[in-house]
Amino acid sequence: MSSTTAQSGLARARRGLAPGGSGGGHRIPNDGLNRKSKLSGQTKRTFFWLLLPSIVLLILINGYPLIYAGVQATHDGSLIDTGNFVGVDNFATVLSSAAFWKAAQFTLWFTIVGVFGSWLVGLGLALLLRTKIPAGGTFKVLLLLPWVVPIVVSSTAWNWLVATPDSLIPSIFRNLGLGTPLFLADPHLAAVMVMVFKVWVSFPFMMMMISAALASVDTTVYEAASMDGASKWQQFTQITLPMIARSTYISWILMTIFCVNDFPTIYLLTGGGPVDATTSLVVLAYRSVFQDFQTGPGVAIAFLMTVTLVVVSVFLYRQIRKSSVE
């Protein structure tokens, strides 16, 4: 079969058309999404009043701290006393600090590895669990454990595994003649360790997201692609990935937010050390406010994080729209 035929088959498969069909084949239902509905003025008013308590609550919960944080970021006070207005001095201090850029760099790597690492592991396992394997349900539950177990417990367990030269994993390395790596004492290894830990904690979330997306893919599209001569790899790249694109982008957005805002994973395992090697922006903000008692600069860091997250999220949201249109 020519590649043109395969491509054509894949395109038809993605559209949900049966082999040889002319458009009258089974389509994935899309009820409600494009339905035109006109609400009466009365209904709109009812909706407004029903929504109002939630809107007010959201403003109180999110708006007040946000505004107060804005006040703190532009003042030189403490948690008790707002202090004097200093304009953008705190932002200037933060942006000219080497510690901020080092933490930003670590946060970037931590996020990239955390998002894509957990996505790749989650995707692999979701595809594996889709096949018929014995005790698949049990595996699914077991694979959820890293996500379900409280982070305090899992960080303690990981500490036991790697912290001292006599811990299990360094001992295995030593017995294999690979030396005794100090996984949390060496700055580079500690950074890698924290990222691996994050992937371990996060992959079940990705696995569930992708599993849910895969479950909605009609298996007949694969049959159609096979009949049109598409290889397994072609089916994966041109059917599976596009079909789960929307879930993928949503999971990337969520995991980006989880990674950038992640405090306990890092703080419980390394405390941001050694020598700031694993200090992320949120850890730096925490230390500034609660250890150095520099409220203004600490909150300024949090503000900068928020802005960055919104920009990244908007970009990824646009990708979702794009994938929806396609």
Binding site: A163, G271, G273, P274, T306, L309
Partner: protein, 438 residues
């Protein structure tokens, strides 16, 4: 695309952005949100907030003592405040006027809140203690650090001492003598290393301050310190440089565990257990009980002498403070005076990990029955210095030194050994300068 779906799309995008912003604001909320503050205690009741200074049995006993108060037409209520985010908890409660009237807390907390005008001075309590005889019962020097120009900022009630401990069996096995000065520490450390033991155990991992305290202890053990006598920064003095050079020598000789930089308190405790590797090091009072080995193999060593003959260790005088926000200042003072008279019971019941501030408590059989305790009172308490060394007066900047990033980064730099003394101290000084209040 129809008009309605276009509207929906815009609406959901705004909704989405709102949700994203809300999620992204989590660190802001975390940074700015207040901790839970109790509003328990009716008007006229003195609210006493206490930390978990020992096992839950400690808090139960302290609660009974507090609830036994009735003076100045008032009563007292008791609330435990967890160490986790305690400063945030106190700050938000004080800011919202729902804080305690009297509390224990962080070692330098009283000075931080004094700086913000929230502390009621304890001079009248001190006068009352003079009248009832307890003033003369204080161990020498424990009260002085709390006296400021305006009055007593707080009243000490226990001392968090940093003595040196050793495991006798490991020294016997290595054929080493217990160090009495720095050269003998290096010599013993090398012998201990040869049997796989650690000659100077410490740790600076997540949440572990022992390494930080060790750095300062070695400086003041050499007659140095972070501050001058009048409280100015003095990180780069020669004694500090000498102390840090010695610490780096210990690191390069493997006397300090190369993995110590990442050790949490759990990791360090494990090293001090019966089959652990720690042979010698600075730790807290009651280490033997902490690691469950009271066989007599874990002992307190005598203080080491520095190269110039100086002897000193580090102490944190934990204290009880009164706040201006109280239903009655007279009642606060009456309560604190009463409570200082009751704390002996906590040592009598063996619930305390700290050293008492009153001589009479050190003489209790329940305390003096432990030879390690006796040695600490006799040999360490008289030479103990605070974080304020070379000065003596405590102040708010010490809180920044104790828990701040500058000291932690300095300690971790030294423990990784990839620096020289002057570079590390210069970075430490610069880090401190950027955060201390002038």
């Amino acid at each position: 695309m129809n008009v309605q779906s276009e509207t929906s799309r815009h609406f959901s995008r705004r909704g989405f952005l709102g949700l994203t912003a809300a999620a992204a604001a989590v660190p802001l909320l975390a940074a700015c949100g207040g901790g839970s503050a109790s509003s328990s205690g009716s008007s006229g009741t003195i609210k006493f907030w206490d930390m978990p200074w020992g096992t839950p049995a400690y808090n139960d006993a302290a609660k009974k003592l507090v609830e036994g108060f009735s003076g100045a037409n008032s009563k007292a209520s008791y609330q435990i405040i967890q160490w986790n985010n305690f400063y945030q908890t106190f700050s938000s409660a004080i800011a919202s006027k729902t804080g305690p009237a009297v509390s224990t807390g962080g070692g330098f907390q009283a000075f931080q809140f004094e700086q913000q005008g929230q502390i009621a001075y304890a001079d009248k309590v001190i006068d009352a203690l003079k009248k009832n005889g307890q003033f003369d019962d204080f161990l020498p020097g424990v009260l002085d650090p709390f006296k400021s120009d305006k009055g007593y900022v707080a009243v000490p009630w226990q001392l968090d001492m940093r003595p040196l401990w050793y495991r006798k069996s490991l020294f016997d096995k290595a054929g080493a003598s217990v160090p009495t000065d720095w050269p003998s520490l290096l010599e013993a450390g090398k012998k201990l290393k040869s049997i796989g033991a650690v000659g100077f155990a410490t740790g600076s991992g997540a949440g572990n301050n022992i390494g930080n305290h060790l750095m300062i202890m070695m400086m003041i053990n050499n007659g140095g310190g972070v501050w001058t006598k009048d409280g100015q920064l003095d990180v780069m003095n020669d004694r500090n440089v000498e102390a840090v050079e010695f610490l780096l020598e210990l690191v390069s000789n493997g006397v300090i565990d190369p993995a110590a930089v990442s050790y949490t308190t759990d990791n360090l405790d494990a090293q001090w257990k019966k089959d652990g590797k720690a042979a010698f090091g600075m730790y807290v009072l009651g280490l033997d009980k902490r690691v469950g080995d009271t066989s007599g193999d874990l002992l307190v060593a005598s203080p080491m002498a520095g190269p110039h003959g100086d002897k000193a260790t580090l102490v944190f005088p934990n204290n009880i403070m009164m706040y201006k926000n109280t239903p009655s200042q007279d009642a606060s003072e009456a309560f604190l005076t009463y409570y200082m008279g009751q704390i002996k019971e906590l040592w009598r019941q063996k619930l305390m990990n700290g050293l008492p501030v009153f001589k009479s408590i050190t003489e209790l059989p329940e305390f003096a029955g432990d030879p390690n305790n006796v040695k600490i009172v006799k040999e360490y308490q008289p030479i103990a210095k605070t974080f304020a060394a070379q000065g003596t007066s405590l102040n708010a900047n010490l809180a920044v030194l104790d828990g701040g990033q500058a000291l932690n980064q300095f300690t971790q730099t030294i423990l990784t050994g990839k620096t020289d003394a002057k570079t590390a101290l210069a970075a430490f000084q610069s880090g401190l300068q950027s955060v201390i209040k002038k």
